[in-house]
Structure formats: C-alpha cells, structure tokens
C-alpha cells in the first residue's frame, strides 16, 4: 500500500468515531490554556506583590500595645518610645525599661502587660513580631528621612490611630522610588514630622511647599542602586 492510501484510510476510520466539530477541540483547548495561562500569570504578576501580600499584615504581638491609646488619646510623641529615630538608621523599639517607667505605676497589674512584666522580672527581652521589614540587602535609614522633612506617616500610615499595628504601605522598591523621584510631593514643614494628623491644604499647596523645601534644603534623594543597596 502506498502511504497516501494508508493516510486516507486512517482519516476515514477516525471519522467513524469523532464528529466534525471535534476537529476544533485542540485549537479551542489551546486558546483556553493560553487565556488561562495569561490570566494566572497576570494575576500573580499583579497580585503577588508587596502591595497585596504585605499591606495589612497584622500579626499578634506578645502584648497588645495600642498606638491609638498612647498617641491619639494620651498624646505621647513618637520619640518618647522610638527615642533614637532622629539619630540612628534603625528606629528603636522601646526597651522594657521604657514601658515599665510608666507601667510600674499605671495599670501595673493589667493582665495585658503580663509579657512586659515577665520580661522586666526575668531580664529576657520581649520578642515583638516585626511588621515593617525591608530585605537584608536594603539599607533604610530613619534618621535622614525624619530630619529632612519626611513624616512617619509617609511610610507607616495613620499609625497613631491603630489599636494593633499593621503594615500600611507596600514598602516595595517601586513605592520607595515614587518619593525618591518626586520628594516634593511628600516633604513637610519640619514642625509637622511627628504630627501624623497633619495634611496639606491641597495637592497644589503641597507641591508648591515641597518644591520650595526641596530647593532650600538641597534634598536630592538617591535614585541609583547604591543609595539603598550596599
């Protein structure tokens, strides 16, 4: 038998089993897989980013510390506890001693403070769960930001109203660069750095004020890799 003949017989034989529309199945399948694949890829691309995976991260802490009570109700300044934010790269988390300087008198027996008291008595530090974390190869410096017109609010959000702290901003590189490229959109009067309720009157006013600050203070945030990656 010639090969053409064999092929023809095979097609006829197949036709006995499959209707004509079945010819489109492979093509349709391919289309579905492509579309599905694109959707999945696009979904991961878009949603598996810090904006969606990290924002809102709100782990349980060893003691339910409320910024809302301490800052918003009692009016404490950020720097009472985060005392080195203006001088160091790290913004320190207060030592147990700082907590106890008030809580040895106020709410000294509160069950919520059990972990803090235990730490004070045993000398073992409280292990606060870290929320805002840049990767190891990123060197963020708090001091230079708060001293040069960037408020806590810009990165940490309305933390003064959070009963439990969560991550408010994605802290991704693209997000960092939004400000590093246009700092004028975020620069504040030096008096309002730690006033987390301060807002510019309007976007135009912010821009005018920010542009002026940027020029006067010689603000040139780095946009090259070396600014943050060392």
């Amino acid at each position: 038998m010639r090969s053409a003949e064999v092929a023809e017989r095979f097609v006829n034989w197949m036709a006995n089993f499959f209707p004509r529309w079945a010819n489109w199945i492979p093509l349709k399948l391919l289309l579905i897989v492509t579309v599905l694949g694109a959707v999945v890829t696009g979904g991961i691309w878009y949603y598996f980013t810090p904006k969606y995976t990290n924002v809102g991260y709100m782990p349980d802490q060893p003691a339910p510390f409320s910024h809302a009570i301490h800052v918003e109700q009692l009016g404490m300044d950020c720097r009472y506890c985060h005392s080195y934010v203006e001088v160091a790269g790290h913004s320190n988390v207060p030592s147990t001693q700082t907590c106890m300087s008030c809580h040895s008198q106020i709410k000294a027996q509160s069950p919520k403070l059990a972990a803090v008291r235990a730490s004070w008595e045993t000398g073992t530090p409280v292990q606060w769960v870290r929320i805002h974390k840049a990767p190891d190869y990123v060197y963020f410096n708090h001091a230079v930001h708060v001293n040069r017109g960037i408020s806590c609010y810009s990165c940490h959000g309305q933390i003064n109203e959070m009963p439990v702290v969560y991550q408010a901003q994605p802290l991704s590189m693209a997000w960092c660069l939004e400000c590093h490229r246009e700092p004028e959109k975020f620069l504040r009067p030096p008096s309002e750095i730690y006033n987390l309720n301060w807002r510019p009157a309007s976007a135009q006013e912010q821009l005018a004020m920010g542009t002026q600050f940027k020029k006067e203070w010689n603000v040139n945030p780095p946009v090259t890799c070396g600014g943050c990656h060392r």
């Binding site: 320190n92 030592s95 730490s119 870290r130 190891d136 230079v144 203070w217 010689n218 040139n220 060392r230």
Partner: protein, 1059 residues
C-alpha cells in the same frame, strides 16, 4: 577604516613578569591564559558527586520544598529590644572604643568598631604618637580570631571537662604550696608583652615567692637583639631606628618595612621620606642585603642577595670600609675582633654602599635583622656609631623590663626536676619551642602543668590542665607600645566562651582578691598616672586609649665598643657549608598563632603569592643545580633532625639557601586548617634559631600542589605598573603618562551615552607605588570591612579567591636577581565601565557620584561583567561560601547549611552578605560613603547647610595602609588630598588607551639609585628602556614625548584597512 585597538603583543621575554612560567612562556601558561576563564573556574570538577547526580538531588529537594508551599508563608521575624537600655548604645549605630593589641614588639594602638556590642572592625588609633591610623594584617584579622568557633571553650583537667571552681581550688592549692616553699618549684612560661599590670603582679609574686622561675619565650622574639643592645649600649636601653631622619638606609637581613614585624612608626618614617610629589625633590635611598624577597627588598634601590650566614661577613667587609672612610677607631676595634667568614658578594657593591653611607654622617643608618646573632647586630651598632647615627637616626630610650629567664633555662630546670607547677600562659611551646629542648617530653615530667590558650592546641594536649584564654578584645589589660606609651587593652565584649586572661591567674596566685572589672589595670594605672584627678585621668586614658607622657625617657645611645668587641670575640659562626635553611616569620600567620584564621591563611604571601601553604623557597639557579621544580617535596636534614617541605622556585632568592616560613603544619585546631603547610620547627634548635647551616637537601620524589594567586592572570606586555629613577623623573616629569602605548593614543570617541556624573561628590582613589610595600594590610582590612568570604585552598587553586583587592606582584629583569614591584588592584570604578554595558539585567550600573555599583539582588550570575572587565577584579560566588563548610562545597544541599553563630557576629551589619551565584567587587566602601552622606544630611537637617563642604570618607584600605599609599576621597574638592595627588605628574591611568577612564589611578614608583653601584643602570627601568622602533616611529626616544605629553598625533595610531 576599522581601528584596531593597539594592544601591544606579548613579548617572548617580557621585561615585567609575574611567574617563571610567564617569563619562559611555557605552553601550559599560554594555554591557561587563552581560556575564557583561565583557571577553569567555570568548569565542574565535582569529585564526589557527578553533575547528573547533582541535578537529580536538586530536583528531588525542589519537589520536597514545594510540598506544603512553605515558601509562601511570610517567615516571622522579631524585634528584640534590650530589657534595660545600655549606656551609650544606640541600636544600629557604631560605637568606637580605643583599645590595643598586645604584641611582642609593642602594642598596636587600635580603635575598635562595635555594633550592638559586637566588635566588628579594628582600625589604627591615629591619636597615638606612633600610629598614623594604620594597621597591619594581624591586627586587622585578629577580630576574626575572637569569633573563631574552634576556640577552646572548656576548662579541662587530665582531658576531662571541669569547671572554674575546680580551677580556683587548684590555683589555691598551688598558692598554698608556694607560700610554704617560697615559690620553689613554681615556674611560668609567658609570651613577650610589655604589660605594666603583668609586671606589677610579677613583682608581687617575686616578693612573696622569691624562688619562682619566670621565663619568656617568643619563637620569633628578639633575644639576640636584646643581648646585642645590652652589650653595645648597656642594660636598660632600647634603640630604635628613626627612618624619618635617614637619607641613606642599609637593611641587612632586616624586614623593617613589614609592618607586622617592625612597627607602624618605622614604616611611616620611611615612607615619609620616600614620598616625593614634585620632580627634583630629594628622597631617601635604601640598600638591602637579604636572602629571600621581603617587602623591604621590594622597596630597595639596590638589593644584594646574601645567604643568612653571610650577614656577618657582609657587615664585616662593610665595617672595614666605613672604618677606613670615617677613621673611627671604635669600629675598627670591633671589626678586628669579629671573626672573618666566607662571602660571595660583589666587593664593589659593598665598597660603593659604604662610601654612600659614610657620605651622609648623621643621616644614614644600618639596620640588622633582630634574629641575626647578637655579635652581628652589635657590629651593626658599631657601624651606626661610626656613621654618627646615635641620637639622630638611631634613637635610644631607657626602658624598664622585668628580668626573665629563657626557655632553655626553663627546660634545664624541668629536666632537673626542679619544676613542680608550671604555668604556660599563652603561647604554644610544644609546637614551637626549639627542637633540641624536647619541650613536649619534658612537660610529661612536670607534676602539674597548666596551659592557658586560645585553642586546645599541641601544648594543651601535653599539659595536665587546659584553661581557655580570653581574647584581648574580651578582657582587661594594658600594654606598652614600642615607644613605651602605656595603652589600654579594653574588652569590647564579655568572654564568649568563658575565657580568663593571664592577669586573673597571676592575681589569684599572688593571693589577691578576685578583681572586679578593670580593677587590676586601674590599680596599676593609679601607680603610674601620678597625682591629680585620677578619675578624670582614667577616663581620658580609656577615651584616647593611652596615657600621654609614659613613653620611655629618651637617652642618646652611648656606644660601648668594648662590649660589642667582647661579643664579637666570643662569636663562633657556624661553618657555612652545604645549603643554609633560613627560618622566616610567616607573613600570613606569624609564628603559627594565626593558623586558624581564614582571612590570613587566604592572604597570598607578598612575594610568592602562595595561599594556605608555606614553601621551601629556592633560587632558580639552586633549583637548577638540585634538579628541582616547584612542587617537588624536599627533605632537609641537619644535625640528625629533618623536615619535609615542598619547594617553590622564588626569583630573587639567594643561591645555596632555602627559606621556609615558620608556623605551618599545625594540628589539633580544626579540620580545615590542620596539616596546612609544612612544619619547620623540628629543624630549629637553640643553636640555630635564625638559620641552619650545613643542611642536606634531597628530593623525596613526592609532589605537592600550591594554590598560588599570581599565575591567574598576565600583564600581556602592557605597562600596568610604572617606575622611573629620580633622575628621569626630574628630566621627564610626565614619563608615567607617556609610557608604553600612552604616548600614541588617538582621541577617543565613545559610542555609548554615559550617565551624568553630576553629584557634588565625585569619588576617586590614588595608589602611590613609591611607598606601597605590598604588606597586604589593605587586603585584610577590605576583607574585614566588606564581609568577603574565604574559599579554601582548593577553590583558590581554581582561581576563585574572593578578595576584593588583589595585591599584584611583578618581577622585572633577570630571573635570578629581578626587581620586585607590588601593585594593589581593586575595582577601578571606570567612568566608561565595560562591565556595565554587558550586564543583561542592569545589576551593575553607574551612580552620579562616579561609583560603579553592584546590586546583588539584581545579579543573575551571567559573569559577562567579569569577562569584560579589563582589570579582572570582579569576584563570583561560585558556591555559598558563607553558608557551607569549605570542605563540603560540592555536596550542595547535602552539606550542612548555615554559618556558625559566632562567625555571624563578626560580620559588618552595613554590608550585604552575598549568596551563591552573584558577582561582587570593590565598592569603594559605599557603606561608608552613604553613612557619611547621611550623617552630613542629618546634621544639616531642614536647612541649606548640606550644600556647604563635603562629607569626609576614608575607605577601609586607605585607613589600614601603614604607609599612607592609598588615598581615597572626593576628586571634585580641590582641597582634598586625592585631588591634589591626581594633579601630580607621576599620576597615571592603567590601560589608558581603552578610554575606560578609571577613577583609581596610580602614582608611578620613583627609585633613587646610586649610579656608582654595580647594576645601577637597571634600577628604575622595570618597564624596560624606551624603544620606539616597534611602534613604527622614529628613534627619537622619550625626550620627544616629554615635550609633547598628551598630544599624540593621530598618525601614531595603528590603522588597519577595513575588511
């Protein structure tokens, strides 16, 4: 018309060469060069696991890792604040303390950088009178020793673990016995440290127990020097050369430019006179007579190869000449008493050298190695006296040191059974004591022996008790620097593994109460500080790290010819027959004490470029006569003792002599560093501490493989390193800029658009080749600062060493007697960086302040950048060197993962620890630059102050450099030192014709030959005499270029017809 880059061809016999293979252009060498990765670094040489197995394993572990999607959950991290705030400590900010490293040749004043209570980096203390802020490799690397996971951790008695209480009970028992017997049978063996507190405690002990035996031993000590000084200048005197006052220097077997073995002040003094900025300025002249190439020999204007035993006859011949020239009777009397000996050196060399030294009375000095016999050194002092050096170039001081016995006296007492309780406080005498003392055997006969040591080493195994010693960064002490100034030794951290220091043991034996904190040091301090406000003085002492005004009182050395002549008369030199073996200090691990320090083990020796090994160095001529090749195992025997070591042919070595570095071949430390190199101590006896004569040398037939870094790359006939004589520099100031191809460069047109370099700070660096001795301090400082991993011998031999600074070493001229030139090469931060254009992922890019950046998190490891780098300074992480044990790198995921916790503590928190698969290289210490910029900005705050002046930054290598050769800074700031140096005429760019515009430039080396010396015409012409015939140009030599430094006409470029 296609322009062909005018690379000069590799010459058959290059004037400058890095290895003997290159000089001979062996086929193996050419083959190795022409491969993409010359060292085969990119290939798989698994050994234990094949590539196929590896992929199977990897697939399996990936599949396992996928189950449970553990990677999707965010790992929980913790913020752990202090319970109680610690004084001065600000989390994330460095704290600096002044301290010092006690050393046998005087304490090295240091500033320790601590991060959250962990010392991570050591710098020199620039406030201290002898220091310019420089350090050496040992001081830099000592911080790694602190965190060494192999350190001893437990007190042991008869091999069994015991505790501090048992030790205290034992000490009290020994004390009670000593009290009863006046100290009879109680002996101490200590290391040489000038510690006022130890001296005070010793005085107490001696008062209470007059019969104790106190012995000091340093395998590389200066007992011969002390004897020579005592005979020549009387007891209680110390003499030090002052090179800053010397116009002419002769060093005989003395490596005074190796800062590790001399001192910061000596290197600083010498380089201050070596550094010239303007053509025609005067500079000093250095004559060196030595056996093997040392950094001092590399700096020499005239170098003579002598066998170690020839130092005496050489000095005698020189002294004779000088005695005649100066008519000095005292010198003549010492010469007459000094025995004659064989000398093969050129008499003209000696005669001209003597003439030159004698021509500068009071401004010349002769220094003799401290290991040389006392009579030889005394002869050196006699010459200095004749040259009028006393009080001028040779400074004297009155010193106070407690009396101590030698190890030989201790051994004699042990042999006689007079030692019942022996304390070995530091040191490792079982390993490094003179072989004829049989110290290990004698120890067995001592009823109670206590060893205090950092490691459970050879001595710990032979003693009854072993006590872990506290590192100097963990305990309170004090020590005098070489000038006598008392320095504080402050602890930076509590003992990691419960170590104690020798002062605490001595204090307990003296029957004093347990000290609290710095009490022991403080008590001494109140004795020496004088009256006044003691508290304020103490605070100042700790703040600045030393007590001002405690230097030894100066005293003009008064030469006693009779004493020197008596030494000379009694001197019986060993007959110089057969081959001589010189025992040299190891430039990398000293006397063996740093054997477990990976940074030092992996630092290439400055001359041989061998890592993780020592070698028996022989000259090319001797190798030929013995039929040796590099790697042949040798057996060296003398007086019935023998050692084995692998030979390495070392250009510039004296003939009929072998040099071998001490300190290798250790056991009992860790599986990575045990049995590295060859132990030379078994050949060393009390009779021949410096060198053994009459040695029989034969090949055993076995072969050894060295891991050298020198042969990895070639200079390909390009003038990377440049030098000239003073005379040429005066006549032709721009010689460095017109040398080789640089006179022929056509104007370049760049095809790329380059990033704007518009920042007010533009960083740059210069390296002064005139003062760089190649001491490697920068290499280790960089390693410490930048968390550079070590890779082990196997990886180094494949060319995968990670050090960001490569200390290149070139030889020039004849292989038997070449000139040596060191050159440190790190990332040059090219403005038109070739690496940047080939990176497919933009992982290496340029910053606006002129840095060639490396973003590790972007790097995907194509290694294109390393291929395109003209300097070969990029380093690739072929393995997870930080995470896997070095001997199990090829086991992949099967090997244990993770860094020892103590090693994690040693890392600089401001520098990313790199992982497998990423490229890295010198960053110009960007972490310091950014820190300085941030500090500058923080200080300015919301004001315009950040516009005025520039942040001040020192790179780690610059800070460490003891000769101030490396200068880093802002080239935009006309006041900065680097900007001024770049304007000097001897400033040149390497490979200028590539138009990569490197930010690191070099200052050509200037030599000051004495034209009357034999061979003077070759000195300073390492690049060869200019010959322009080969470049298709007229025969008019370099004068033409002098008149026309830059404007090379286009016609000079080689042009090839288009294809």
């Amino acid at each position: 018309m296609k322009r062909v880059l005018p690379h000069p061809a590799r010459e058959a016999k290059p004037p400058l060469w890095r290895s003997l293979d290159e000089l001979a252009s062996t086929p193996e060498f050419v083959d190795a060069l022409e491969r993409e990765f010359p060292q085969g670094a990119a290939e798989w040489h698994g050994g234990e696991i094949s590539r196929r197995n590896f992929l199977q394993l990897m697939g399996g572990s990936m599949a396992l890792a996928g189950i449970g999607l553990t990677g999707c959950r965010r790992p929980e991290a913790y913020l752990v604040p202090f319970t109680q705030g610690v004084e001065w400590t600000i989390p994330g900010k460095f704290l600096y303390y002044a301290t010092s490293q006690p050393r046998r040749n005087g304490a090295t004043p240091l500033i320790a950088t601590t991060s959250d209570g962990r010392p991570t980096k050591l710098e020199g203390n620039p406030l201290h009178p002898i220091s310019n802020g420089g350090t050496d490799t040992f001081a830099q690397a000592s911080v790694l020793d602190l965190y060494d996971p192999n350190r001893s951790r437990t007190i042991k008695a008869d091999g069994q673990k015991t505790d501090a209480a048992a030790l205290a009970a034992k000490l009290d028992e020994i004390r009670a016995a000593a009290e009863a017997g006046g100290g009879e049978g109680l002996a101490f063996l200590v290391e040489r440290v000038d510690s006022p507190t130890r001296d005070r405690l010793l005085a107490q002990l001696r008062q209470k127990y007059p019969n104790i035996l106190w012995a000091e031993y340093e395998p590389l000590g200066a007992s011969e020097h002390d004897a020579a000084v005592a005979a020549s200048f009387g007891a209680g005197v110390e003499v030090t050369p002052d090179f800053s006052a010397a116009d002419k220097v002769l060093a005989v077997d003395d490596d005074f430019l190796n800062v590790s073995f001399s001192g910061l002040d000596q290197v600083r003094g010498f380089s201050a006179r070596r550094r010239i900025s303007e053509p025609g300025q005067p500079m000093n002249r250095l004559y060196v007579a030595e056996t093997r190439y040392t950094p001092t020999g590399g700096m020499a204007d005239h170098r003579l190869r002598i066998k170690p035993s020839e130092a005496g006859p050489f000095l005698r011949a020189l002294a004779q000449q000088i005695a005649t020239l100066t008519g000095d009777g005292a010198l003549a009397s010492v010469v007459a008493a000094f025995p004659e000996g064989q000398l093969s050196a050129d008499p003209q060399w000696i005669a001209e050298c003597a003439k030159d030294l004698a021509a500068s009375p009071g401004k010349s000095i002769v220094v003799v190695g401290k290991q040389q016999p006392a009579a030889v050194q005394a002869l050196g002092f006699a010459i200095n006296d004749a040259l009028g050096a006393a009080g001028k170039t040779l400074r004297g001081a009155r010193v106070q040191r407690p009396q101590s016995a030698s190890i030989a006296e201790l051994a004699a007492a042990m042999e006689a059974g007079r030692v019942k309780n022996l304390f070995i406080l530091g040191g490792n005498p079982v390993y490094n004591a003179p072989a004829d003392l049989r110290f290990g055997d004698l120890l067995a006969g001592v009823p109670v022996s206590v060893h205090l040591g950092i490691y459970e080493d050879e001595t710990a195994a032979a003693t009854k008790w072993h006590v872990p010693q506290a590192h100097y960064l963990e305990s309170w002490s004090d020590a005098r620097s070489s000038d006598g100034t008392i320095c504080a030794v402050q602890p930076m951290i509590l003992p990691l593994w419960g170590g104690v220091n020798e002062l605490e043991i001595l204090n307990r034996l003296a029957g004093n109460a347990e000290p609290i904190g710095p009490q022991l040091v403080r008590d001494t301090f109140s004795e020496v500080a004088g009256g006044g406000n003691l508290e304020a003085k103490w605070t100042e002492f700790l703040r600045q790290g030393f007590l001002t005004g405690t230097a030894w009182p100066e005293a003009t050395p008064a030469f006693n010819a009779g004493g020197a002549a008596a030494l000379a008369t009694a001197y019986r030199p060993a007959p110089s027959n057969g081959i001589e073996v010189a025992f040299t200090p190891s430039s990398t691990i000293d006397d063996g004490r740093y054997a477990n320090n990976g940074w030092l083990q992996e630092t290439p020796d400055f001359a041989t470029k061998v890592t993780w090994d020592n070698a028996a160095l022989v000259s090319p001529a001797t190798a030929k006569s013995l039929g040796l090749a590099t790697g042949d195992m040798l057996e060296m025997s003398a007086n019935g003792r023998k050692i084995e070591a692998a030979a390495l042919i070392a250009p510039g070595h004296a003939d009929d002599a072998v040099s071998i570095a001490l300190g290798y071949g250790r056991v009992n430390i860790s599986h990575v560093t045990d049995h590295v190199g060859f132990d030379a101590y078994p050949l060393r006896t009390t009779q021949c501490m410096a060198f053994a004569t009459g040695t029989a040398v034969k090949r055993t037939g076995a072969k050894h493989k060295f891991a050298e870094t020198q042969t990895h790359q070639s200079m390909e006939g390009r003038d990377l390193v440049r030098e000239a004589t003073m005379e040429r520099y005066a006549k032709e100031p721009t010689f460095a800029q017109t040398m080789g191809m640089d006179g022929h460069i056509p104007p370049n047109i760049s095809l790329f658009t380059h990033p704007k370099l518009d920042s007010p700070e533009q960083w740059g660096m210069t390296v002064d080749l005139s003062t760089c001795t190649g001491c490697n301090a920068c290499v280790v400082a960089c390693q410490a600062e930048n968390n550079v991993p070590i890779v082990g011998k196997d990886q180094v031999s494949r060319g995968r060493n990670m050090a960001w600074i490569r200390m290149d070493r070139y030889f020039a001229g004849d292989e038997n007697d070449p000139e040596m030139l060191p050159q440190s090469i790190m990332c040059q931060h090219c403005e038109n960086a070739p690496c940047e254009t080939v990176c497919p992922v933009n992982a290496t890019v340029h910053s606006e302040d002129g840095l060639n950046l490396m973003a590790y998190n972007r790097c995907i490891g194509t290694r294109y950048c390393a291929n395109n780098c003209p300097w070969k300074v990029r380093r690739f992480n072929f393995f997870d060197y930080n995470q896997r044990p070095l001997d199990k790198l090829y086991f992949g995921p099967l090997a244990k993962k993770g860094m020892a916790e103590s090693v994690q503590m040693s890392k600089n928190p401001n520098v990313t620890v790199r992982m497998r698969g990423v490229m890295e290289k010198c960053t110009y210490c960007i972490q310091r630059i950014e820190e300085a910029k941030i500090t500058h900005a923080v200080k300015a705050g919301p004001s315009d102050k950040s516009k005025v002046d520039f942040p001040n930054v020192k790179s780690a290598c610059q800070q460490a450099c003891p000769s101030e050769s490396i200068v880093f800074g802002n080239i935009n700031d006309p006041k900065s030192r680097v900007a001024q140096l770049k304007k000097e005429p001897r400033n040149y760019e390497m490979l200028k014709y590539l138009n990569v515009s490197p930010r690191t430039t070099y200052l050509a080396r200037i030599k000051n030959p004495n034209m009357a010396m034999p061979g003077a015409d070759k000195v300073g012409w390492a690049n060869g005499h200019p010959h322009h015939g080969g470049h298709g140009e007229g025969s008019n030599g370099h004068e033409a270029h002098a008149a026309d430094p830059h404007g090379a006409p286009a016609g000079h470029a080689k042009e090839a017809p288009a294809h």
